[in-house]
Amino acid sequence: MSVNRLLPSDSEALRVPLLAQGYEDVAPWGFYRKRKIASFFREVNEIPNATLAINVSASAGWISQLAGITNVAVQVASGAGFIEEAGVNKFIATRAYSEGYQWISYGQIAQLVSGVPEVYRQDYFSGIVSNANREAITLLGSVQQLTTIETVDAASLAQRVVIQEHSLSTQLRRLRKLGDGWDGEKASHISEETGSTAEALIEQLLQVSLSNLAIPNARLGPLPDGTLRFECTYLSKELFLTVSDKTVEVQKWQPLDSVESLGYWETDLQGIREHLEWLVR
């Protein structure tokens, strides 16, 4: 695989030549300033082939995990002249890039991850992701958001989010297999509907974590009446989400050592987001 020589080889801020010509408002030099992105590219360039299936798991590298969770397909720069157009908050055309990638199902097998920097302009850059679906945009957001993400170490955050999502999903799969009487007494099994709601709730938790750059500590356990309860903490807050078929009971506490909760609500999946947002803000 060819390696674009524009890619920085170390993590320091580097000046790189701007290939695009004819952009009057584009400075001839741009700063490629983001340490993690530089690291990202360097690691990407070590992938020997342009297409590589990667199993998403806690032990995989963070790049594959990031791809698995966001369906990001960032492509390999296979030659010069790849810069076509650029703009803030806008993804760049891909015709100069390698072909043959395909989108993958959420949380399944990750498609190739590779990277390419786009046009550099003074004070910002754009086009880190050449193609992305909704989840990827949620993660990467606008250029300004991207800058923020990098400040708090997007790599580490994405890795922890993926690990948590993986852990919760694994736990849920296990709990869905419990039969009646799993507590040795009269406990009910987990209904299909309860399991599906919990699955969707895990996805919401994931999205809220990424969009707020905050990862609550979430644990999932069964209750003898066949419901499932997420116990989520973040800083001084705790949130119980108890799933029963399509209904979700919400209860929250702040600070952690308080006995009396702030309130109790019964809602559905659509109503959960505001409570998750409360937790991580």
Binding site: S167, Q171, L178, G181, W182, D183, G184, E185, R219, L220, G221, P222, L223, P224, D225, R229, E231, E238, F240, E249, Q251, W253, V259, E260, S261, G263, Y264
Partner: protein
């Protein structure tokens, strides 16, 4: 004297209670609120059972639990301060330790919000003093 029924034990706030921890309620080394699942419709027999520490040893209490179960310990003052009642309730399958058995009751009249508060407070009490951690790979089924 033969045939004499022992009076129920008198419990003071400084006494301690044991609570069995089903491995299903122990996730990544942390006790979950399922360890005390309280429902308004619970009958007396459905109420959470505990062991009275001064009447049964930790090892003996643990041996009465299912394989893989753990044991947490907390003071009598915790349920008392939550407005609950500790109800000594001899449990014959415990044999000579039957009188060491008690039930936590008094929550059936509470609303859902308060029930959640109590479940969480009891979870926190057990979480603070896990004497024997559950073995999470073991069967969750209890022997009692």
């Amino acid at each position: 004297m033969a045939g004499e029924v022992a009076p129920p034990p008198v419990l003071v706030p400084t006494d301690s209670l044991y609570r069995g921890i089903n491995p299903q309620f122990y996730e990544n080394g942390v006790v979950l609120s399922g360890v005390f699942c309280l429902k308004k419709r619970d009958t007396l027999e459905d109420s959470p059972s505990v062991g009275i520490e001064k009447l049964i040893s930790l090892d003996k209490f643990h041996s009465l639990m299912g394989t893989g179960w753990g044991v947490g310990q907390f003071p009598v003052s915790v349920p008392k301060n939550l407005g609950l009642t500790l109800h000594p309730f001899p449990h014959l399958p415990w044999g000579e330790y039957a009188d060491a058995h008690a039930l936590i009751t008094g929550y059936q009249s509470l609303g859902k919000k308060k029930l959640g508060d109590v479940e969480r407070a009891l979870r926190d009490a057990v979480r603070q003093n896990v004497r024997i951690p559950p073995v999470t790979s073991a069967s969750p089924y209890a022997s009692i």
